[in-house]
Subunit: 209 residues, 2 copies
């Protein structure tokens, strides 16, 4: 009931007890190979287990669900996102800081682009994964809400921080959609464009109710 219940947690303390036979990364790689070949639905946990060379039960220990496999190290990237926002100059308007933060978060080295594209394509084009994604993005939104709340002296549960988190996600998802639809598109440009579209759209209105 103490540490034995924890999942193997790749790269964690591992001195005593039977050594691990695989890793999150190894499973992820095998899984992606199979996903590419047979599609997400067409790939069973059994097939993944066979590809990795472990039991099906072991796969379920490393990933709490099949839907979680494509997400890889997402939790760790959230820490990076938090740092990005925290590093924003405090004199920058909050809205600008959030915008730049989201752009910076999605700035990848050019060589990491194809895998990232493949991963996002899988997630956004597989209904089961698309549905599952909002559960994962909840934490992403929370990062933004917490930052906005801190900057403005609100609580993260207040309407404004939550709104900004949710809207930021909406904009990012829209940009990603366009990005996946056009192989030559630049993600960062699309993110910026989406933000601009929203701003200009809202300026189309008078202050009526």
């Amino acid at each position: 009931m103490t540490a034995a219940d924890q999942p193997p947690a790749t790269a964690a303390r591992q001195s005593v007890g039977r050594p691990v036979v695989t890793s999150h990364a190894a499973i992820e790689q095998s899984a992606f190979r199979l996903f590419a070949a047979h599609g997400f639905e067409g790939t069973t946990l059994e097939m993944i287990a066979a590809e990795v060379g472990v039991g099906r039960r072991t796969i379920s220990r490393y990933f709490t669900s099949k839907n979680d496999i494509p997400w890889g190290q997402f939790d760790r990237t959230l820490t990076g996102f938090r740092q990005i926002l925290d590093a924003m100059p405090p004199d920058l308007p909050v809205a600008t800081a959030v915008r730049r933060g989201v752009l910076a978060f999605n700035q990848f080295p050019p060589d990491a682009d194809p895998p990232h594209r493949q991963r996002m394509r899988l997630i956004l084009e597989t209904p089961a994964l698309l549905a599952h994604s909002i559960l994962r993005y909840e934490q992403w939104r929370a990062v933004i809400a917490e930052y906005v709340a801190r900057r403005l002296g609100h609580s993260p549960g207040d309407l404004l921080p939550r709104t900004v988190g949710q809207v930021s996600l909406a904009l990012a998802l829209t940009a990603y959609e366009s990005w996946l639809a056009d192989d030559s598109a630049d993600l960062n440009e699309l993110l910026a464009a989406t933000y601009d579209e929203l701003t200009s759209f809202l300026e189309l209105r008078e202050h009526s109710t």
Copy 2:
């Protein structure tokens, strides 16, 4: 391959052949009773079938998935949403029309409020249903995107219409969250407040990159 494959489609042509033994509404009601008593996960299709008095297989014919049961007649409400938007005065700024449209769509007669609240609480507080919801909301976003596209002479697939659809959904979901958190809250006021929060937030920024 013609009409026999179609689901029973409550209230459709039904003159020849074995008569239906239940309806979407009847199943929905029984299901909600059980959901309230045992929770969504704690209710199996078998239990619902027993409560309705039909076979488990029949439930699966009326609803393509367990996740779809709480949505009831959502498809039909989309038609209403389309009509609401189409009825907006053409001289109204698009952003204002969308805002008013979303508010009108969520304007329910006071007596329909408790069931609506119960339904939305179930959907938004059950992880599996929350995840499934974005698949359903895709059509809702499309209604907005199509309206915006028509008003501005764009294609519904363009960046701006999609952005507005996605952001509108984000605002609505945020408002619903707050609504469910406070029993005495008014949904329409919260929707308006969420829109205002976004507007004021964006005005907090200078036009920098």
